[in-house]
């Protein structure tokens, strides 16, 4: 079955990004397809590579990154939600004349159309909320 996941909860102030991660791992283990993971709202902070959690706490940025690299996942971060929150890749940093950037592959900035497309393509779109 083809799944897509929409994450809306805050990356570092909500359990939902982690619950979504466990759900993704489980559906992949069961042999299903994960068409896309779409980060919207406060979940876009997941894509920031600058987070430095304490050693004894999980690194949700790294967990998603590793899972994506292992399974060639499509991690799409809503570009409008990301830019206003300061989650920015190299290309957008140049465009907006920012001195640095904090996200890169496998996280990819793109539009809400990617979520619409995922809703159509997938048999199930599962949301993990704020």
């Amino acid at each position: 079955m083809i799944f897509s996941i929409l994450i809306y909860g805050s990356a570092h102030n909500s359990q939902s990004v982690h619950t979504a991660y466990r759900f993704a791992k489980s559906l992949l283990a069961a042999g299903h397809t994960l068409h896309r993971v779409f980060f919207y709202g406060e979940s876009v902070y997941t894509a920031s590579a600058l987070c430095a959690p304490p050693r004894d706490e999980q690194d949700i940025h790294q967990l998603w990154k590793s899972l994506a690299e292992t399974h060639q996942l499509d991690l799409v971060v809503c570009i409008a939600a990301a830019l206003k929150r300061g989650v920015i890749d190299q290309a957008e940093a140049q465009r907006h004349e920012k001195p640095a950037f904090n996200t890169h592959a496998p996280y990819e900035l793109s539009g809400l159309g990617q979520l619409s497309e995922a809703a159509i393509i997938s048999d199930r779109l599962v949301t993990f909320g704020a």
């Binding site: 919207y40 709202g41 939600a81 809400l112 159309g113 979520l115 619409s116 809703a119 159509i120």
Partner: protein, 120 residues
């Protein structure tokens, strides 16, 4: 690309957080992508539709303006939770957009009958 029927349920008031605005952005995008979008205003989301909003006082965009433009973006299936409007003493005349008033039973059936249901 095939089309699916999408029901977007809004439940939060404007301005206190970005939830209502991000849900509206999603609705506009889905409609632009040719999806069959229905919008249901429940709970505090009914406040999105109040006339005379002036959010420049708190430096935010006017979400009532976005709502009133929904039909121009081919979103004309607008539903309003009946129970909410009664609790909040809001009448149809106070709203910037006409909508079909629905009760809890009808909402349950709408959720059943749409392909995708997202609640914000």
């Amino acid at each position: 690309m095939q089309s699916k029927s999408i029901l977007l349920i809004l439940s939060h008031a404007p301005y206190g957080d970005t939830r209502a605005k991000e849900a509206l952005d999603l609705a506009l995008t889905a409609a632009a992508f040719g999806q069959d979008v229905s919008l249901l205003f429940t709970q505090d989301a009914l406040y999105l539709l109040l006339k005379s909003q002036q959010p420049q006082a708190i430096e935010q965009k006017n979400l009532a303006n976005i709502c009133s433009a929904l039909p121009m973006y081919d979103i004309d299936k607008i539903y309003i939770e009946n129970n909410t409007s009664q609790t909040k003493h809001i009448t149809a005349e106070q709203l910037i957009l006409p909508g079909v008033f629905v009760n809890h039973n009808q909402i349950a059936l709408m959720i059943r009958d749409h392909d995708v249901v997202l609640r914000f």
